[in-house]
């Protein structure tokens, strides 16, 4: 066929299945660790996890996080520790969803949900404050009017996202080390992790088995 073989190619393509996903009608399964809109998590007893340490703000390459910590009120503490996040803002006009804040957070307070379908028409709506980011009393992300939460997307919105152990210690890599949280309790380990390594709780004390180079 030579030069005419191109016609055969286009002819054969006509009988092959379409590759298009009809997006608004049909939604594809999102990846396990999709980076979407953030949430601020709470412990099982309702206390906020954020301690106002500003590590997330420091690590943010887009400078879109603004945090101010404050001392917990003695009679009505917001978080279990000494300090809590008094102001917490994320500017979604700048956020690049790199998840460095999630990795930096020592208390699993900030994680990312799978939500990416949200839009706003003014700058003020683009800056999420604690009012919008904090999970509700059920431990679920708030469903804001300009966000499109499809069914089940908020099931995986919180600390399951952590890829590494607290403090980024390599020893903890691949192990379940997260704390219990409101609405979900202590999450079961992700698939594949529990089979490779025994769960952290069954090892006591776990520092004993540390490798010599540690």
């Amino acid at each position: 066929m030579g030069r005419l073989s191109g016609f055969g190619v286009t002819w054969r393509q006509m009988f092959k299945p379409r590759l298009t996903t009809e997006y608004p009608k049909v939604k594809r399964e999102k990846p396990e660790r999709q980076h979407g809109r953030h949430v601020l998590n709470r412990y099982e007893d309702g206390m906020e996890k954020c301690i106002g340490c500003e590590l997330c703000a420091g690590v943010c390459p887009a400078h879109c996080i603004y945090v101010r910590g404050a001392d917990n009120p003695v009679d009505d503490p917001v978080s279990p520790g000494e300090r809590y996040g008094f102001v917490y803002e994320i500017n979604y006009l700048r956020c690049i969803h790199c998840d460095l804040c999630v990795e930096a957070c020592p208390t699993e307070a900030i994680t990312e949900s799978k939500l990416f379908e949200f839009s706003f028409t003014n700058r003020a709506d683009g800056i999420y404050t604690k009012d919008e980011l904090l999970v509700d009393d059920e431990g679920r992300a708030q469903r804001l009017p300009w966000e499109l939460w499809a069914g089940g997307e908020d099931d995986h919105t919180s600390s399951w996202m952590r890829a590494t152990a607290p403090s980024g210690d390599a020893t903890y890599e691949g192990r379940v080390g997260w704390s219990g949280e409101l609405g979900f309790g202590v999450r079961p380990p992700e698939q594949g992790q529990s089979a490779d390594t025994p769960s952290l709780a069954s090892e006591a004390p776990h520092f004993d088995e540390a490798s010599p180079d540690r």
Partner: protein, 406 residues
């Protein structure tokens, strides 16, 4: 043969017997309006169908939002363009700038007027041909109108008062004029066989006479080479890929229509796609028998189905087949390089078309004069091959050094 051209039966029976009365005028008006609407609607459907078929060929879905299966997509695009702001460069030649889009769309409409889309029918009690006008010089009219289309392109580029449209217009005009020659010679290949210029008479000569008439009556076999040249040249004339250098969006700054916006821009594109449809209709008329095709034998030969439906059906099938080929070309072939485009037109198509016309003329003359065709045919064919080889050897090949004259 000249007498056949002037015979009464080649005239539209609408005008032959009773002068011009109101009902005759009404019949003409109905035909004009119907042709106008038909062409607009078919352009709309063609663009939609083209996008759908190309989408199929690329594993996509294509337009599917406006209307069922996206069939109203073109209408939506047209409405959008209609309401868009129209801008005009300050250096533009204002009247010509306004005129140019209509210069390119009018010939596309007029071309369709001479195409017979059916046989002889009866409207309002008048027997008439199913075509807007059966000119005694219909084939010349086709050539003239496709020539006038070039003015739209040329004047649009020139009147824009901007250098890129001007360069684009020069480029396009060179292409259109080059292929005009091959196009005309390809049409001549049929005219020599048919010995008439009337499109209705050409269609009638290809009338259905059993399945054998596909080979014996229809002109595509007797004018096989002109048929191929016609398809290539008509594709180039209508700026369809792979010859769409007229507006090469990706690499050559649009082209002659760079400064056009809104409905004027839309009219250029309407004209382009309308030309594709009329060219397919003309190809079907000249080479593929137009409305000729088997009628339903179990129904009355003078009934509605066999006088109206079947001829129009066969005509539509042929045009749709040709349109599918243009879409297939569009999906399969990359754009030609400009020098290759010119080389194909000037060095091959025109030569082959001229030689074919000379040989078939010799054969027709031999037939009419009673010469022995087994002597004439080898001599004429041999001379043509010889002439082509001589010309072919004289053509510089790519990479060959040519001694230039100074």
């Amino acid at each position: 043969m000249i007498s056949a051209l002037l015979a009464a039966d080649t005239l539209d029976p609408l005008f032959s017997s009773h002068g011009v009365s109101w009902s005759v005028l009404a019949v003409v008006l109905i035909k004009v309006v119907f042709a106008f609407v038909l062409l607009l609607v078919s352009v709309m459907l063609y663009i939609w169908g083209m996008r759908k078929v190309i989408a199929d060929m690329q594993n996509r879905i294509g337009p599917n939002r406006a209307g069922p299966y996206g069939v109203l997509q073109t209408l939506a695009d047209g409405i959008k363009l209609f309401f868009k702001e129209q801008s005009m460069p300050t250096t533009a030649d204002r009247p010509v700038f306004r005129l140019a889009p209509y210069l390119s769309i009018l010939p596309a409409f007029l071309l369709f007027c001479v195409v017979p889309i059916g046989g002889t029918v009866s409207i309002l009690g008048h027997r008439t041909y199913l075509q807007v006008a059966d000119l005694p010089v219909g084939a010349l009219f086709i050539l003239a109108m496709s020539g006038i289309g070039v003015y739209g392109v040329m004047l649009a580029g020139w009147s824009s008062g901007s250098k890129y449209p001007l360069l684009g217009a020069v480029r396009s005009t060179a292409q259109l004029l080059s292929y005009e020659a091959a196009f005309g010679l390809a049409v001549l290949g049929v005219l020599i066989q048919a010995q008439t210029l009337s499109t209705h008479a050409i269609a009638q000569q290809q009338a259905w006479d059993g399945w054998g008439s596909i080979g014996t009556q229809w002109f595509w076999l007797r004018a096989l080479v002109p048929f191929g040249i016609f398809l290539i040249a008509a594709t180039a004339e209508t700026n369809h890929p792979p010859f769409d250098l007229v507006e090469a969006e990706q690499e050559l700054v649009g082209g002659f229509n760079t400064e056009y916006t809104g409905i004027r821009f839309a009219i250029f594109f309407l004209a382009e796609f309308m030309n594709v449809i009329t060219m397919s209709a003309i190809a079907a008329t000249l080479f593929l028998g137009g409305p000729s095709g088997p009628s339903l034998g179990f129904l009355s030969a003078s009934g509605f189905v066999n006088t109206w439906v079947m001829p129009i059906f066969w005509f539509t099938v042929k045009v749709l087949g040709l349109l599918f080929v243009t879409v297939w070309l569009r999906a399969s072939l990359p754009r030609m390089r400009y020098d290759r485009l010119m080389a194909l037109g000037w060095k091959y198509l025109i030569e082959i078309a001229i030689l074919w016309v000379l040989v078939s003329t010799a054969l027709i003359v031999a037939r009419d004069e009673g010469w022995n065709r087994f002597v004439v045919a080898p001599i004429a064919g041999g001379l043509a091959v010889l002439a082509f080889l001589t010309l072919y050897l004289a053509i510089p090949k790519p990479g060959e050094r040519v001694e230039e004259f100074h």
